[in-house]
């Protein structure tokens, strides 16, 4: 039947395109959880990641794998610099969360302008073509991009959650996320943990941007506009809940695409925002996973956005 094909096709393609959104959302959610920063500079990292890959493939004519490695390196280097030169200095000066947020915004815009100066404003892609061969499975068109992208994303997420669950650094992140100063009393070096969170997020951003840049055109300011989705997902997923952010990213992508079946297409954009609204009314604590008690990584917390609120009182 035509209708089921349409639904399945939409589901499949949305699932495939949600891969990079998931990666961006997880990166954003992780940094927010551990360092409590709304890290808009992620957009700068995205821009750097993309143009590195672009140079490697189109100017230097490197093979894809080498370009990917170079891009990852640059992404991590950018994240490292951001943390060590930017955030750490600001943290030491005791600035407000809002201030860091504006700082990250400015960094992103700055990098976007630099990219504009160097690369111009014509949209670019990593590989010269964005047309991927299609296989028809059942009645569903599966593009050659879909499966590798999904596999890479699932692999990265699995590695990440295993890391959070089984490694020391992963668990320290949870502690530092809760109270960085207290964490120091147990020998945890919070500087290192903040850095680790930034680097992991950087790796996700790199992978995500590689996927994005092989499928869609990128402009110097694309990074900034991609952030909005990541933020929406993070917030709907429940601030501090990384898995929730990932799931929210997938669901948001599917809903936005599938909505065309029910509403006129010009109101499609509106839907995302309606969703943000409904999320507040019906899921005031975000989309929560069935809570597996006592596991790491599932605890949710409220992040005070203005200033550090006093720690939660018993039962309060």
């Amino acid at each position: 039947m035509q209708d089921t094909t349409i639904i399945l096709q939409i589901l499949w393609t949305s699932l495939a395109t949600s891969t990079y959104y998931v990666l961006f959302a997880v990166a954003f959610a992780l940094v927010l959880k551990v360092t409590r920063l709304f890290n808009f500079a992620q957009a700068a990292v995205m821009t750097i990641a993309f143009y590195t890959a672009f140079i490697a493939v189109q100017w230097l004519e490197w093979p894809a794998w080498a370009a990917f490695l170079l891009m990852m390196f640059m992404t991590l280097a950018a994240s490292y610099a951001l943390e060590r030169i930017g955030f750490e200095a600001l943290r030491q000066r005791g600035v407000s969360v809002m201030f860091v947020f504006v700082f990250t915004l400015m960094v992103s815009e700055f990098i976007a302008y630099v990219a504009m100066l160097i690369f111009g404003t014509w949209p670019q892609t990593i590989f010269p073509t964005i047309f991927w061969p299609v296989t028809i499975v059942g009645e569903i068109a599966v593009s050659g991009w879909d499966i590798p992208a999904m596999a890479a994303t699932v692999g990265a997420l699995a590695a990440f959650f295993a890391f959070m669950r089984f490694t020391r650094t992963g668990q320290f992140m949870i502690g530092v996320a809760d109270n960085p100063d207290l964490a120091e009393l147990y020998g945890i070096n919070k500087r290192q943990i903040f850095l680790a969170a930034m680097l992991i997020a950087g790796a996700f951003v790199g992978l995500g941007m590689f996927l994005y840049g092989t499928r869609a055109q990128v402009l110097p300011q694309t990074g900034l506009s991609l952030m909005l989705f990541a933020i929406a997902a993070t917030i709907i997923g429940g601030i501090g809940n990384i898995a929730g952010a990932a799931i929210a990213a997938v669901i948001l992508g599917i809903i936005q695409n599938a909505s065309i079946l029910f509403i006129s297409s010009e109101w499609q954009g509106f839907l995302l925002y309606i969703f943000l609204f409904l999320a507040i009314v019906f899921f005031p604590n975000g989309l929560r996973l069935p809570r597996r008690r006592g596991r790491f990584g599932t605890a949710t917390r409220d992040i005070p956005l203005g200033r550090d609120a006093p720690p939660a009182e018993s039962q309060a």
């Binding site: 668990q171 109270n179 120091e184 147990y186 070096n189 006592g294 605890a299 720690p311 939660a312 018993s314």
Partner: protein, 227 residues
């Protein structure tokens, strides 16, 4: 050896500690008393490295803890239980203890549970939702997880039921005897503390007003009856 040499420290323009010197051999048990604002907490924070001394130094087996970071000092064997807000409120009891012990000996958890059975019962409860006294026990347990050489306790009896206070004091003395952990206890509850410490110090306005053995202070009740 933990030596505090001529320590001066403060906040902004305020000087809180003024030339405090102490010398403690390994495994010593010291009680620190004084009125509110005498600088007791500040002294402990200097030792653990959370407050930078203006002058003087804190020497732990030959290294100056005053210039190292808190994390480094903790790894060298100083554990500190602060006063209030001393657990990760959004993590469970179990998570709290495991994270505290990850760099040291995670299997020590069972011993902490033995010391405070209520924690074992509630090991999956969010620490922030525990009662005040329960949080205090958890904080003590977490400090023990770091297997310290020196344990600095800032008013550990705050909010604990008398029977638990007695129990805790006894167990601390016990641990001290068995493992040789040095204890520095800041307390308002002088009688209970004097039972377990050997040495005592009274701080008054950032200076040492009395230094001697616990017994001596115990005899000299008019020295401490206001604390």
């Amino acid at each position: 050896m933990l030596q505090v040499q001529n320590l001066t420290a403060g906040y902004g323009s305020l000087t809180v500690l003024n030339g405090v010197s102490l010398s403690l051999g390994n495994g010593a048990r010291l009680g620190v008393f004084g009125h509110n604002g005498a600088g007791k907490t500040t002294l402990l924070r200097c030792i653990v490295g959370a407050v930078r001394p203006r002058d003087g130094k804190v020497d732990l087996d030959g290294t100056d803890t005053g210039v190292a970071t808190v994390a480094e000092n903790v790894r060298r064997g100083i554990a500190f239980v602060p006063q209030g807000h001393n657990v990760f409120p959004n993590l469970t009891i179990e998570q709290n203890l495991r994270i505290a012990g990850l760099l040291f000996d995670p299997s020590f958890v069972t011993q902490v549970y033995e010391l405070f059975p209520v924690l074992a019962e509630r090991c999956r409860q969010r620490a922030g939702s525990m009662s005040g006294g329960e949080q205090q026990m958890l904080a003590l347990g977490m400090a023990l997880m770091t297997k310290p050489k020196w344990l600095l306790l800032d008013e550990p009896s705050t909010g604990l039921a008398p029977v638990i206070v007695r129990n805790v004091m006894r167990r601390l003395a016990d641990i001290n005897e068995r493992t040789g952990v040095g204890l520095i206890v800041v307390e308002q509850n002088v009688p209970a503390t004097l039972k377990m410490v050997e040495q005592a110090v009274i701080l008054r306005s950032g200076q040492i007003a009395f230094q001697g053995s616990a017994e001596e202070l115990g005899r000299n009740t008019d020295l401490w009856k206001w604390f």
